[in-house]
Symmetry: C2
């Protein structure tokens, strides 16, 4: 059996993360990158990879087994995933939690029309964290689930700061409140407000002569983004920002605390945690495993939209059942 | 649709844990307990539950949807799981890692002959820990997996001490070496020997007048069980043993440390950890979720042996796909 031939749509941070992950997957190969930019302006790292126009993708149906969509969730994926699902088995990391049912329905329709499998929202949250939430609830139905994000860079919050007048550049770290995490780990089952769970730490480069107090006030009072949190604002130089804050670390944890026993006297705590040196490369790694699972589902004759919740651990693996039972079970 | 009707085979610690877990599962009900003891000698906690003879189980095929086997892995399950799989959809927590392929083959044969689904080795290790090992390997193929057990009581090691001459009773705690765990958490990817990973802490009640030094020597030098580890032996009174060491806590963690990046410069650490107040009740909770998954597989027309690695998170859940996507994804 040949390798699974993969196409990447969108060659940004996540697309590059997928490319790196494919280089470690012995059963898969990168065939082509699709872009809406001028293909000649896109230089990929891997050898023997075509760079093609986005619109030319449908003509490549016989050359690509799975298309991995690496665009943004705001405007790219709502359009691109349904479009590509007509022609290909597809995977995306759509992460706008509130709009997942809508995206699912749109993708499902096109995937079924095309007789393809589409696996959406395959990242770490949604994705691996969702899996942990479902396992926790299934095993300990009498309990509570807590999700903490960070410490890590939030792209959306960093962008929001950059739009404040007088700001040249910025990075925002989402930081879990350690005391709250500890209460959950101890099985105390606390009630936690938004402010109890996370704080926001900002590193801001102000334009020369800008009013730092005014910038700070605008940030900490920004509705939804910062107002519900305790927010720390630090002004630093562009040099320091580039030197200390240009990596893309992230992570977090899902905790399930639940009880068993005749009188619920036994408290159990289940934790799934991630410490990621590169958010887009880890997301890319999940997308590649998900692409394998989507391809297997297609081989079984499935069609339509699924998520990581519908996929077994074995389906994500390059190894067969016998090997997994012998070495991992 | 009615509730899934469950039978429990073997009413020991795990059987009682399953009974408690079923009381929290709104889509399932306990119908009967099967025992090789005199049924009249077995008093179950739940109401409206039959207590039946083990040998009478086959006559109950129309009353039980899933049979949960709660016997021991040494002699009970190798006989009972294949036997029951002829007649019922079955689940067990067979935990003798080395003999899983053999058990799988024996169960698979009978399950296929009976047209039933059998889900074996559904506990936390094997089980949830196996799932974490497979996820870790699938997502970060360039990495290393570490499993630490404890702190918690090991039944097998406690039994081994009780067989030493002069010992009245004993409990053995398996304790992970915290420095080694930290090295893994830090992404240092250490090479760890058996002794580096766990130590063994024993609480022993000696018979009056017994030679404590001789007992200690016999314990710490016991091949396989204690010799490869640093072992601590504490002599205590029967009162203290009963007061402080009669609970059945356990737990542990699976860590996957792996790299991405052009030069493997990004280290990611994924951790799944459990802190369990009652080992048998948590195992019982997993068995109940697994019974639901086995029943769903049977409804889909499957037959044969599977493991937790072949089951999706959604299959373990009492909720439907739409609910899970909206609330857990």
């Amino acid at each position: 059996m040949g390798k699974i031939r993969v196409g990447i749509v969108g060659y940004g941070n996540i697309g590059k993360g997928v490319e790196i992950a494919l280089s470690k997957a012995s059963d898969m190969e990168l065939t082509a990158v699709f872009t809406r930019r001028n293909p000649e302006s896109v230089v990929v790292q891997s050898e023997n990879v075509m760079v093609c126009k986005y619109d030319d993708a449908p003509a490549m149906m016989d050359k690509i087994d799975v298309m991995i969509l690496c665009g943004g969730s705001a405007t790219d994926l709502p359009e691109q995933t349904p479009f590509m699902a007509k022609y290909f088995t597809v995977v995306d990391s759509f992460d706008n939690h509130g709009k997942i049912p809508e995206h699912f329905a749109a993708v499902d329709k096109e995937a079924k029309a095309g007789g393809n499998v589409a696996l959406i929202s395959a990242g770490w949250d949604p994705g691996m964290f969702s899996i942990s939430r479902v396992y926790g609830d299934a095993i300990l139905p009498n309990g509570e689930t807590y999700t903490f994000w960070g410490p890590g860079i939030s792209q959306g919050h960093s962008d929001a700061i950059r739009r404040v007048e007088g700001v040249l550049d910025a990075r925002q770290y989402t930081v879990p409140i350690e005391e709250s995490v500890q209460k959950v780990c101890n099985g105390e089952n606390p009630e936690l407000t938004t402010r109890d769970k996370h704080k926001r730490v900002c590193y801001v480069v102000a334009k020369e002569g800008a009013d730092q107090e005014a910038i700070k006030k605008q940030i900490v009072e920004m509705p939804n983004y910062f107002e519900p949190y305790d927010t720390e604002v630090n002004f630093i130089s562009m040099e320091e920002l580039k030197e200390k804050h240009s990596a893309m670390p992230h992570g977090g944890r899902v905790l399930r605390s639940g009880t068993t026993g005749k009188n619920d006297e036994h408290v159990h705590v289940v934790e799934y945690s991630l410490k990621l040196a590169s958010n887009p490369e880890f997301t890319g790694s999940i997308l590649v495993a998900a692409a394998r699972a989507a391809w297997k589902a297609k081989q079984k004759g499935m069609a339509g939209c699924i998520t990581m919740l519908d996929v077994s651990p074995a389906d994500l693996s390059a190894h067969d059942g016998e090997f997994l039972r012998k070495n991992y079970l």
